[in-house]
């Protein structure tokens, strides 16, 4: 597969899987405001997914459209990072997953606005305002829950500790990522990681949370299609309709 198509699918898959996960909170968020926030973020991510997939499908030229990419690929063909397929868990789990992702996503999208690929730069320019808002919201909530009650602090710290090993995969560049960096398409990992660590450290400190060591061992494999069992269940629900009734529309 062409490196750029692969890279675009990774961008789209990250956004789609997280969007699908957040959508599961619809109607059962812990507060009305949170319910609306998560579904709005899910909607933004879904819109971004469509733009990445549309471009990937065009470049691929294999007759697949955005729907085929979303609904007719199996788990090993998905390239999302493992962080995003981790279960919603309790609200702290969902929030910490979101915050780790938002912080990376914001710096990535900001870097992509300077991409040598004009179309990717345009998509990033569109998405940047949205992901900036996402990061401000999740960072704010990290502080409120971390520096909240004893219970909210404990749950948030536990989620930080549990999810930390999934936070490094986005910076583990392989041949696909490096080819994009070399072509001026994507920003380099070390730059993103430095920004991510600085921002996460600032928020965690204000949230009175302890940051795990930056050099901890990190999970990887999702980008290359090696997933946890969680992804299969997510896809089973997301793809059910098109699998059961191929080509169904409404």
């Amino acid at each position: 597969m062409d490196h750029k198509v692969n890279y675009l699918l990774r961008l789209g898959d990250n956004a789609l899987i997280l969007s699908q996960q957040l959508s599961q909170w619809c109607g059962k968020g812990p507060a009305l405001e949170e319910d609306m926030a998560l579904t709005n973020v899910a909607l933004d991510l879904l819109g971004q997914t469509r733009m990445w997939y549309e471009y990937a499908a065009e470049l691929e030229g294999a007759g697949r459209d955005e729907d085929a990419l979303a609904y007719l690929r199996d788990a090993h063909e998905f390239k999302n990072c493992l962080l995003l397929e981790q279960p919603n868990g309790n609200y702290a789990d969902t929030l910490v997953r979101q915050f780790f992702f938002d912080a990376w996503h914001y710096f990535l999208i900001e870097g992509l606005t300077r991409s040598s690929d004009a179309r990717m730069a345009a998509i990033a320019e569109k998405a940047l305002k949205e992901v900036t808002y996402h990061l401000r919201r999740s960072g704010d909530l990290m502080v409120r829950l971390g520096d909240g009650t004893e219970l909210s602090h404990a749950k948030t710290q536990s989620a930080v500790n549990e999810l930390w090993m999934y936070s490094g995969e986005v910076f583990a560049y392989d041949a696909v990522d490096e080819a994009m960096v070399a072509a001026g398409v994507a920003p380099p990992a070390d730059e993103l990681r430095a920004h991510w660590l600085a921002h996460v450290a600032e928020i965690l400190a204000e949230a009175t949370l302890t940051m795990p060591p930056a050099d901890a061992w990190m999970q990887r494999g999702g980008k290359q299609g090696r997933h946890s069992e969680h992804l299969g269940y997510i896809l089973a629900e997301m793809q059910f309709l098109q699998r059961a009734y191929p080509g169904a529309t409404w």
Binding site: L32, E33, A37, N40, L43, D44, Y106, A122, H195
Partner: protein, 210 residues
């Protein structure tokens, strides 16, 4: 008439078109195209197309219509830009534009979707802001600082620091008081946040700066 298409560009010029997706929509059984319909006229017609979710404001006042071009044969190219990436109203808006122009005799309407420059509430007209206020929605409270300015002055890191976030003072659309507070950063649509007025105690929607 000049050989080139007549054109009116809206506030910001199109700088990139790589992401454009053209769509041709030309059914056979409609009135013949009015070759004399100028871009100004098309713009005026589109000014009567309401936003599907906030019907007091037109798609032109909202700043969604970026460019209108009329070719010599009467075919019309309309360039629109999405408000938010996932805005579900965009398809409805696209259909409404085609319907409105067909109804006025423009047989061929080509819609183009343009991402860059990204839509901003700075493009909302003063008439549109007044209409929002009259509808009970507080309009965007300030000019959006150009995101590119973040790169020129502030760093990407500083832009999302909690210390850098300055919440705008939002005036209550009901009583005009600025003694208001945010209830929720997201509201009933991606473009709005929920506020409440601490003076008259009424809750209201706020159209976020974007």
């Amino acid at each position: 008439m000049k050989a080139a298409a007549t054109a009116i560009a809206a506030a910001a010029p199109a700088v990139r078109s790589a992401a454009d997706a053209a769509r041709v929509h030309a059914p056979g059984a409609v009135a013949p195209a009015k070759a004399g319909a100028h871009a100004e006229q098309i713009f005026a017609w589109l000014g009567e197309v309401p936003d599907p979710e906030i019907p007091v404001i037109s798609i032109v006042d909202l700043g969604i219509v970026r460019d209108v071009r009329v070719a010599d044969d009467g075919a019309c190219d309309v360039t629109i830009t999405p408000t938010y990436s996932g805005c579900p109203a965009m398809q409805v808006i696209a259909d409404a534009i085609i319907e409105a122009l067909h109804a006025r005799g423009v047989a061929t309407v080509r819609l183009h979707n343009q991402l860059s420059p990204a839509w901003t509430t700075d493009w909302m007209s003063d008439a549109g802001k007044a209409a929002l206020r009259g509808y009970g929605i507080a309009p965007p409270a300030q000019q959006v600082i150009d995101i590119s300015g973040l790169r020129a002055g502030r760093t990407a890191l500083a832009a999302v620091s909690r210390r850098a976030v300055i919440a705008p003072s939002v005036a209550c659309p009901h009583c005009g008081a600025t003694h208001t507070e945010i209830t929720s950063q997201f509201g009933s649509t991606p473009c709005k946040a929920l506020y409440k007025c601490l003076a008259c105690r009424e809750p209201f929607d706020y159209f976020k700066c974007h």
